[in-house]
């Protein structure tokens, strides 16, 4: 600050810092609390009084959660759909945006109009479901991938970004005899990397967090993603979903400890397992997210 702060401004600064610090605590504390519960003996935690760190430390909750076939499988489904859905989605979106970036393309505005229309109006959930059923996608892994593969919103953001690339670059490449495919590979993709990173991250988070498709378009338990498993467990009244026939036998064998396991402690361990990857990668990727929002918001 170039100027000295007055007394009033100093007080105001303290108040602001305190308020914002409280806000940070309110965001971070729930995770700390859930972590503490998940690392604490269940029956002991149920007595209350565990607020910040585990009082009766144990890893049994995580042993059970990570030893559970269903949970491990749901994790694989989530990773699979996130990877395939993100790269596939980026590819389709980039191709469409690049194709439509040619202003001379015949029927360009008609195609853009029909694409825009889908953002304004849709058939609704039930006709969508009927169509998924008709295509035979219900109860398959591809129901997670195909319907969301082409994101209209991301395409428009990408299109605007490509149109911002100096035309001289493309034109000089064209004079050198480069076709659209080479222009895409050698000019557009290298220049779009930050944008692709941002859109890819949003798509990946969307896949990671989606529970809806798994809950309503899939009934086979071996196809559900982590978030759908969490959603089912949320309303569970006992541990049968986790301690079913296929749970970790070794952990179960320690019968004395098993009695101390509570639904809440298991729930907290499962939710931490699903949230940790995001908590871990978030600090490194945050700037890309912010960039993505800003590019997407400026009207072109």
């Amino acid at each position: 600050m170039p100027m000295k702060m007055s007394r009033g401004e100093k007080i105001a600064q303290y108040v602001i810092v305190t308020l914002l610090a409280l806000l940070c605590v309110s965001v971070l504390y729930p995770f700390l609390y859930m972590l503490a519960i998940s690392l604490n003996d269940g029956a002991d935690a149920a007595k209350g009084g565990v607020y910040l760190w585990p009082r009766n430390f144990t890893l049994i909750n995580y042993e059970i959660v990570l030893g559970n076939e269903t949970i491990r499988n749901s994790y694989l489904i989530t990773i699979g759909r996130t990877v395939i859905g993100t790269f596939g989605g980026l590819l389709v979106t980039l191709l469409v945006a690049f194709g439509l970036s040619y202003r001379g393309l015949p029927l360009r505005s008609t195609i853009l109009g029909y694409i825009l229309l889908t953002m304004l109006f849709n058939g609704g959930l039930v006709p969508f479901y009927i169509q998924l059923n008709h295509l035979g996608l219900i109860n398959t892994f591809w129901v997670y991938i195909l319907p969301g593969l082409f994101s209209v919103w991301n395409m428009f953001v990408m299109l605007k970004f490509i149109q911002g690339i100096p035309e001289a670059l493309v034109e000089s490449a064209e004079l050198d005899g480069a076709g659209p495919v080479r222009i895409l590979m050698q000019i557009i993709i290298p220049l779009s990397k930050p944008m692709l990173a941002a859109l890819g991250l949003f798509t990946a988070v969307g896949h990671w967090n989606d529970w809806f498709a798994g809950a309503f378009f899939v009934t086979k338990q071996n196809l559900i993603p982590v978030q759908t498993f969490l959603q089912q467990l949320l309303a569970a009244s006992d541990l049968s979903a986790v301690l079913g026939s296929n749970s970790n036998q070794e952990a179960l064998a320690r019968g004395s400890q098993l009695q101390n396991i509570t639904l809440m402690s298991i729930k907290m361990a499962v939710v931490m397992v699903s949230a940790l990857p995001i908590l871990c990668v978030y600090p490194f990727l945050q700037k890309y997210f912010v960039k993505g929002v800003l590019v997407g918001s400026v009207k072109g």
Binding site: F98, I111, G124, V126, F212, K267
Partner: protein, 297 residues
């Protein structure tokens, strides 16, 4: 003519997958809206199902439906009233922080909840509010109060939805405002200081006018969402004890359509709600043209 299309053959090839996907997952479902006027059973063909006129629209007489509409509007208005000003206030607060390290830290932390699913949010609420050992109820009983059944209460449902919505999205929604603030000419503040304007006066006469265009765009963009309450948020928190206030259009469609098999009726409800949001979007666009001189598209 043919030569012109041929010249762009690669571009068309690139667009093709997108067009096919839109056809399959947007346009065919739009054609499927006719289910609203037919007696459709799953397994049969839409086109062979008998027409039933407006029979599927009898939900208008269903008292449950009126409750659902009321709940939807109630929740979305509440979320708007709190959710719209909150990020503006937070952005103004963050902007006043003088230490850059702390400022960046607050931004990072406040964006974080945006990246967790509503399911995770529901778990947080459960761990804090549940009757047996929830943190808040622990504190209530410790101070001699009676534990409250927050998760299954009709009075606490709306506050829970509004509060968890604020917790999850307020920080994230400051991004646009903070970006707008950085575009304000610093000289304006300098000359204001020279003229003896205090901090509050600077905020009122420089910062707020500076972000006003952003505020108006965000306001306009949030109008269409007034009739859709994110079912992502509502569904995990809804149970038989609070359904009376929690049931919104989206959950109603989901239950009657996918779970109970009233495909025609659920499609009809969806059609009405899509039409209303279409009207809202289009009129919002007109409004934006009038105010900002340009539409949203």
């Amino acid at each position: 003519m043919y030569a012109k299309f041929y010249k762009y053959r690669w571009q068309y090839l690139m667009i093709l997958p997108g067009v096919v996907l839109l056809l399959l997952f947007s346009y065919i479902p739009m054609a499927g809206i006719q289910v609203a006027f037919r007696d459709f059973q799953i397994g049969s063909s839409i086109w062979n199902s008998p027409w039933v006129g407006l029979d599927n629209f009898s939900f208008f007489q269903d008292p449950q439906f009126l409750t659902v509409v009321k709940n939807t509007l109630y929740i979305s208005v509440l979320k708007f009233v709190f959710g719209f000003p909150a990020p503006i206030l937070l952005a103004l607060l963050i902007n006043e922080v003088t230490r850059p390290v702390f400022k960046r830290f607050v931004q990072s932390v406040s964006y974080l909840p945006h990246f967790f699913s509503w399911i995770v949010v529901a778990y947080i609420l459960q761990s804090f509010l549940t009757l047996d050992g929830g943190l808040v109820n622990q504190l209530i009983t410790k101070t001699g109060g009676e534990p409250v059944f927050f998760l299954g209460s009709t009075e606490w449902f709306r506050p829970m939805v509004v509060f968890s919505g604020l917790w999850k999205e307020t920080g994230w929604n400051t991004i646009l405002y903070l970006a707008a603030i950085t575009t304000i000419d610093p000289q304006l503040y300098e000359s204001a200081k020279v003229e003896g304007a205090g901090k509050l006066a600077q905020i009122r006469h420089i910062t707020i006018p500076g972000i006003l265009p952003t505020i108006s765009i965000v306001l306009i963009l949030s109008i269409p969402s007034l009739i859709t309450v994110g079912m992502d948020q509502i569904y995990p928190l809804m149970n038989s004890a609070n359904q009376e206030v929690a049931d919104v259009l989206d959950t109603y469609i989901l239950r009657s359509g996918l779970q109970q098999g009233y495909f025609g009726m659920a499609t009809a409800v969806g059609l009405i709600s899509s039409l209303i949001s279409l009207v809202l979007v289009v009129s919002t666009n007109q409004l934006s043209r009038k105010i900002n001189g340009e539409g949203l598209w």
